[in-house]
Symmetry: C2
Subunit: 373 residues, 2 copies
């Protein structure tokens, strides 16, 4: 079934780059009330290009939530089990946010702009309302607002070369998950070595939306001989890289331990945080399910509209596939999903119910190996 | 510029009606993380059909937020300046939700299911996070959850005839903004005389998503001789009817007084509510801007991607158009927007900056009359 074209109105917040980024996009989604291109030429063409060259991405949908004021750090700590006590200005941290039951609200990257000022660069849910609600309800002395910041991303192996043509600072000095405040052609920007791909790159946080088109054009021109073209977060690359997508791979119904996000934090941080009791109980009891990577040979599978059920041969235990796509490089389907924790070893065979029938998959390691010959 | 096709994944929550409702939809948006069809044949064709017949709408995007427990009413009251003290089970009320500065968070319809159990049938923002944040932060003794309810709407002048064929209860007994709990072909439903059109109709709240397609087919079959077809909230009808759209006509930056939502409540309710102080200050000082209806003769105007600026002849005062579309019935453009409160009389001439040039408009009354000959 073909899907309808996007119908735009003021309600879908305008990206300052959209006159450029929507051109040539053949598929798009909506993310944080902003249009997010999903495909340009094809998932496969976009994927190969991203791995070889550099792309410019309109990720204005990565909306920022600003927390500012005397209690800003205390509130930021309260939102996540990750320890933020050592965060310094110029640093980014990936912070799963949880609710009182340890359900995952969102999984932003926080940027520490000053000891009393943070941005949360969010995935697709209205974190502004969550943080405001908590702050107002519990009486934190902070301002929580949407600072109207619009990220533009450059991703791919040539992104460092590209950025070095655009800023005065030595690009090599920007460490992974660090940012600097600088400018390109007089346009003030926060530039971080972050981004939603496995190919390396930078995110340029633009505050002055009136400069969006100029910034896009300057970056595009500077990358002309690098085979730069517009792109977007690519489904194949993001699954291969193991980047979890909130809403796809984890929801409010999942906790960070079963989703494997606990690799980003240690239990038992000092500062108070919401959901501590629930999360400690889960950590102690263990999770019935665990997120794994999986490989399915055979025909290309469509990414699920809902989860695909997983059955384990010879048992009554079930799980589900949350994301899957065909990798033209690995020549198999690569996916993510939840399986019973006791059956999460690499190589375990899984029966997966795709819409067109049941197929066999195997749990894979981080290099997508399943232990098969 | 043509817009790209919608790219679907699990993150855009699946409507139980979508195998039916997406068929024939030529335009769609995303609303509360759910696909909302926006156009079938054309805005104009859809509009005329809605005014003459009956349409079946997939409005699964009208997500519910459930508030349940000993403090449910107290929390519901806390969210809105509207007095809920006399609400009874079976009653719906339109309740603008505001924040501590009296900014509009959302404008749901609340359904009172029991004295300690409410649904908020929301417009496009994650009210679940707002209400949970407030409840957790301030310690209300409630459960706040997404009850997984999927509304299907039947709208248009023949909707009463249609519904009378489907339920045993006398449809005439369901008053405006009231609901009953009943069933259609064994499918339990909450059915309310509400809906996002000016043509009358009902909303059927489905809890068992596995029955979505069957419900759709039963309703469709029962309406075959009524010229029933799939439809959706129609831009022309909703502007003509004066229905405000959150995200289009008002945002967190607007308060309910300037947006004219204060006609739904009286200031000074007894129960405590967030934003009372701010709202009372605004009520006392008066708002610089006020929402009005407006008419623009001439060529059809496109609905704005951002607001269109309004200037008032002979003054420095400005306002903006938030929604506008061409009405084939009134043979002019009808819109809504904000103008300086001192210049809000019907007939006032406005200079409106559309993308293709400046046009003249006039403030209109509720019947779209401007006092011109």
């Amino acid at each position: 079934m073909t899907t309808p074209a996007l119908f735009l109105s003021r309600r879908l917040r305008k990206s300052p780059f959209e006159t450029r980024s929507h051109k040539g996009a053949t598929g798009a989604s909506v993310y944080n009330h902003v249009v997010l291109p999903s495909v340009y030429i094809s998932l496969e063409e976009d994927y190969w290009h991203l791995r070889e060259h550099v792309q410019i991405w309109d990720v204005a949908c990565q909306v920022q939530v600003e927390i500012k004021g005397p209690d800003a750090l205390e509130l930021a700590e309260y939102l996540t089990p990750r320890d933020l006590s050592k965060i310094v200005p110029g640093q980014c941290m990936y912070v799963p946010l949880i609710d009182e039951k340890a359900g995952i609200i969102n999984d932003p990257i926080t940027l520490c702009l000053a000891p009393d000022r943070f941005w949360l660069s969010i995935s697709d849910s209205d974190v502004l309302l969550w943080v405001k609600g908590l702050a107002v309800g519990a009486g934190f002395d902070v301002e929580v607002c949407d600072p109207n910041v619009f990220p533009l991303s450059i991703q791919g192996p040539k992104s460092e070369t590209l950025l070095s043509r655009l800023i005065d600072e030595p690009v090599g000095d920007i460490r992974f998950f660090r940012f600097i405040e600088t400018q390109i052609a007089g346009i003030p920007l926060v530039i971080a070595r972050t981004g939603w791909s496995g190919q390396g790159g930078f995110e340029l946080y633009l505050s002055d939306s009136s400069e969006g088109e100029r910034l896009w054009d300057i970056v595009t021109e500077a990358g002309a001989d690098l085979n730069l073209r517009p792109g977007c977060p690519n489904l194949i690359d993001r699954i291969e890289t193991g980047l979890l997508s909130h809403g796809n791979d984890m929801t409010l119904d999942n906790n960070p331990i079963e989703s494997g996000l606990d690799r980003f934090f240690k239990m038992g941080k000092t500062a108070d945080y919401l959901g501590r009791e629930a999360l400690e109980r889960i950590a102690e009891a263990g999770c019935p399910l665990k997120m794994v990577r999986l490989v399915v040979r055979g025909d290309p599978a469509r990414n699920p509209r809902e989860t695909y059920p997983i059955n384990l041969a010879g048992t009554d235990l079930t799980g589900c596939v949350t994301s899957i796509t065909y990798s033209p490089r690995l020549e198999c389907n690569v996916g993510m999903g939840y399986v019973p924790s006791d059956h999460a070893e690499v190589g375990t065979e899984l029966a997966i119910a795709l819409p067109d029938g049941i197929v066999t998959g195997r749990i894979a390691d981080k290099d997508w190996q399943t232990g098969e010959n």
